[in-house]
Each structure stands twice: as structure tokens, then as C-alpha cells.
Point group: C2
Chain length 238, copies 2
DNA sequence: CGACTCTTTGATCCTGATCAACACCGGTGG
DNA sequence: CCACCGGTGTTGATCAGGATCAAAGAGTCG
């Protein structure tokens, strides 16, 4: 079941770390850690370790484990789970697990969804960078705030509105990382995961997607959806 | 419609202030401002002004108005309203409108429910007291925290659970102020107000109360409810 | 006394959960 | 290559919680 069953936040010795964060990385243009190659943030590239592959269900960090690193998704997808509920998804290029800087311990699990690679930023290294560079310190503070905002689970509005805004959120976040791309939004997570995140049953997620399909807003594929009519999705929030 | 239509937070000249905060006040024993006559807080009595009467619907403070005073309910009832929703009720003896100390302006309306008198604590006076007395400063900070907690609207749980916990909350708060009393919980606010506060329709509030009556937990009176079987109410939260 | 407002109660509707049946798909073993 | 199998997604049927609407008491104030 696991290609890498160990917990990676404690040490990376079980996986060959490799310094590989440079302009040739698929996400270099928009990676949050380096903000697309911002000269002020270049040092972040020197401390990163690539870890993986993780496969479906593998835990990257455990609750109450000491906070030893932050992570970015390199490829695949990750979810943050608290008390049995999905509270956040992490897309390629997005940095996370910054929340624990204060408490010194992680407050939730982070679990791989499908085959996933991560970029690991050891705490000791990033702390040192923050002392040398005000730009890096500020950048990480900003990302920490943003992580907190993403984690706040939207529980208001109808099921259709929540599914719609979920798709638009992923659409926008993906666009930010991949650059201007197609209207395709991958949904590698299960319907159960989406339902858990949105506070509804998996059956309802399916039904709401079907409704958006039937009015021509999206097309449903095996591995995600195509946004066919972005405006009609956004119009649901007048 | 109004016995006192002016906005009281700006000035009290339109109503005769009277220094009347002493042991003979009906709520002296438990008033939050003086914490039942705590010697360290006695100076609070010197700065208070009694204002009123206000009648149904009169606004005591307006959103965005400058924060010139905090208040306690002397008699009657008040509600805090934000964006058309009731977010808090204030019982006799309870201090409120501390929230604006930071922002310098009130963030919500406070409206009288029925005929209501208030005790007004001018900002300049309480600020001065806080400089002289660490006890008073600490006390007000504590109350501010508590006000924030009370304002958080409980939106989870079933309608029956929310109504039950609402009654118990008022029951407990009233007991704290009035001392050990009867099982009577006055409900001078309308069913609409309760529904707004609890996030449900007025009809549902009525229905849930009827259900609690039919299983013998409460009796419904014109002006409130009698708690007949406190334990069975609390048992709804296992 | 009469107009008004608020509460109560009944009837109906809507949303989304739950349960069950079925399709689909990838993997496994013969 | 094919039959089988378990997991996941889709879809229909049913159900429960509350909202909404309407009509009938019950105070309340002029």
C-alpha cells in the first residue's frame, strides 16, 4: 500500500534528498517558495530537499509531531486532515505546514492523495534564512497568513454554491501555479474527500457536479472537470 | 415610539445622569462592573451615569459611531445587531460595548428590547481609572474577552439543541447576576430575535419550545419560560 | 371595543442525508 | 485472454429537518 510508509517530517534519511530546485523545475515559474525566481528568495532553493514518492494515504506529517519542516507539493496532491475532516487541499507549487511555527508541533495530519512528491524545507534552514533575509521572513509570514485563510472551511451557502466555489478556487489556484492554461481542473481526490471538505455527502457532490454539467458550465472527465463556461459559474455569487 | 430617540453614546445631556451606583442597586450583588462590590473596583461607581428609559427599538449605539462609553444594562434587555442579525443579548448587570476600545468606533448597533435603563461608563473616566488601578484595567480586559466569546453565534447542532443551549445560557447568566433564583427565564425579546440569534425561523423557535414543554422540561409563560427539569435540558449535550 | 402585533399551529415544499442498486475500472489469478 | 473482485462513482428512492406560507388564537395599546 505504501511506497514510502515512514513519516517524512521527522527525517528525510529514508528518502534520497536531492537539491533540484532551479529554473528547470516544472513549477519554477510560480512556486510559492521562490515566487517564480524572485532574486530576494533565491536562497530558498539551496535548502530544499525533494522527498517521495508517497502514495495514496501515506502521511507526510502527524498531529502533535514536532515541527521540523515546511513543505511544498512538487507533483500530485496533498490534503490536511483534522479530526477526520479534510480542511485543506494542497496543489503543486503550494507551500504548507507553516501553521506550526508558533506551537512547535503540527496540529493536523497531511496525507498524500495519489502518487505525490514534496519539496521539504527544513525548519533549521528556513529559520536561519529568515535571520539573514527580511524578504524571506516577510514572504513566509505572508504565506502563513494565506494558509490560515485557505484552511477556513466555507460552511455557508447551498451545496451547489459550495461546489461551484470549490471548483473556482481550484481553477484559480491552479492557474496561478501553472500559468495561463486550459480550463481543465484535475480532481484526483475522491468524492468523499471533496464532500468532507465541503461539509456534504459524496452523493451530493456528484449530484451538484451533474447539475453544473447539465447546464453546460462544465464537462466531467474521469480525472477532473473541464470548465466550459467560467462566467456562468462566477455568476452564481451575485 | 421612542421615549428617548437620541443616540446615547454621544452624550448623556439629553437624559439626566444620576450617580446612583451603590449597595442599594438591585444588581449591586452581581453587577459585572463592580463585581458585587469588590473593594478594588469601587471607583467604578463614581463614574457611572444612569441613562434611560429607552423603549423598544431605540438604538443605544450606532455602528461607526465613535466609542465614547461602555454600558451595563440596569433593567430591561438589550441586543447587539450586525448586518441585520442579532449577535448578542445583554442581561441586567452585564457590561458591554467594550469591543470598540481598540478600533475607536463601535462595530455594531445596540438596541433596547422593551423599556430599558442603562448604566453608562464614559470612556474618558474608565481610561483614567485604568491608569490608576491595575485591578480595574485587568477586570475590563477580562470582560472584553468574555464579551467576544458571548458574541460568537453558535450555528452548529440541530434546532432543538440550539434552543436548549440558548435557554441554559440565559438561565446560567441570569443566575450569576440575580444570585440563586427561581427557574424562571424571562424572554422579553421576540421569537424573531431569538430566531435571528440562533439562525432559524421564528416558527421553528416556537416549535422547539413546544417540544421541550411537551416532554416536561419547561413550562411556557407569556413573558418567558420556567425551567422545570434542568437536568433533562443539560442531558441533550452528551 | 377594535385594530395591530406577536405567537402558535397546521400544511406544504425544498434541501440534502441516507440507503440501495448498478455501472465502471483497474488489478489479479486462472 | 478472460472471468472475477473490490473500490469508486453515479443515480434513483426514500426520509428527516427546517423554511415558508397561511390561518387561527392571544395579548396589547389606542
Amino acid at each position: 500500500m505504501s511506497t514510502a510508509s515512514a513519516i517524512a517530517s521527522q527525517s528525510s534519511t529514508s528518502r534520497r534528498p536531492s537539491v533540484c530546485c532551479n529554473a528547470s523545475c516544472r513549477h519554477a515559474a510560480a512556486c510559492e517558495a521562490t515566487r517564480g525566481g524572485d532574486p530576494d528568495l533565491l536562497d530558498m532553493r539551496e535548502v530544499v530537499e525533494r522527498v517521495g514518492p508517497f502514495s495514496e494515504g501515506d502521511r507526510l506529517v502527524q498531529p502533535d509531531a514536532p515541527h521540523l519542516a515546511a513543505f511544498a507539493v512538487h507533483s500530485g496532491l496533498a490534503k490536511t486532515v483534522t479530526e477526520g475532516r479534510v480542511v485543506a487541499f494542497h496543489l503543486p507549487g503550494e507551500l504548507f505546514a507553516l501553521d506550526a511555527q508558533r506551537t512547535q508541533t503540527h496540529s493536523a495530519s497531511v496525507v498524500a492523495v495519489g502518487k505525490t512528491w514534496f519539496c521539504r524545507f527544513p525548519r533549521t534552514a528556513t529559520d536561519a534564512l529568515c535571520e539573514h533575509s527580511a524578504a524571506i521572513a516577510t514572504h513566509l509570514r505572508t504565506l502563513r497568513r494565506r494558509e490560515r485563510a485557505f484552511t477556513r472551511r466555507a460552511t455557508d451557502g447551498s451545496a451547489l454554491e459550495r461546489v461551484t466555489s470549490f471548483l473556482l478556487e481550484l481553477f484559480d489556484r491552479r492557474r496561478r501555479v501553472e500559468g495561463i492554461g486550459s480550463g481543465f481542473v484535475p480532481l484526483p481526490m475522491s468524492r468523499d474527500d471533496i464532500g468532507s471538505y465541503l461539509g456534504m455527502s459524496a452523493a451530493t457532490v456528484t449530484r451538484m457536479l451533474a447539475r453544473l454539467r447539465s447546464d453546460g458550465s462544465i464537462a466531467i472527465r474521469a480525472d477532473g472537470v473541464d470548465v466550459l463556461h467560467e462566467a456562468s459559474l462566477r455568476d452564481r455569487f451575485l
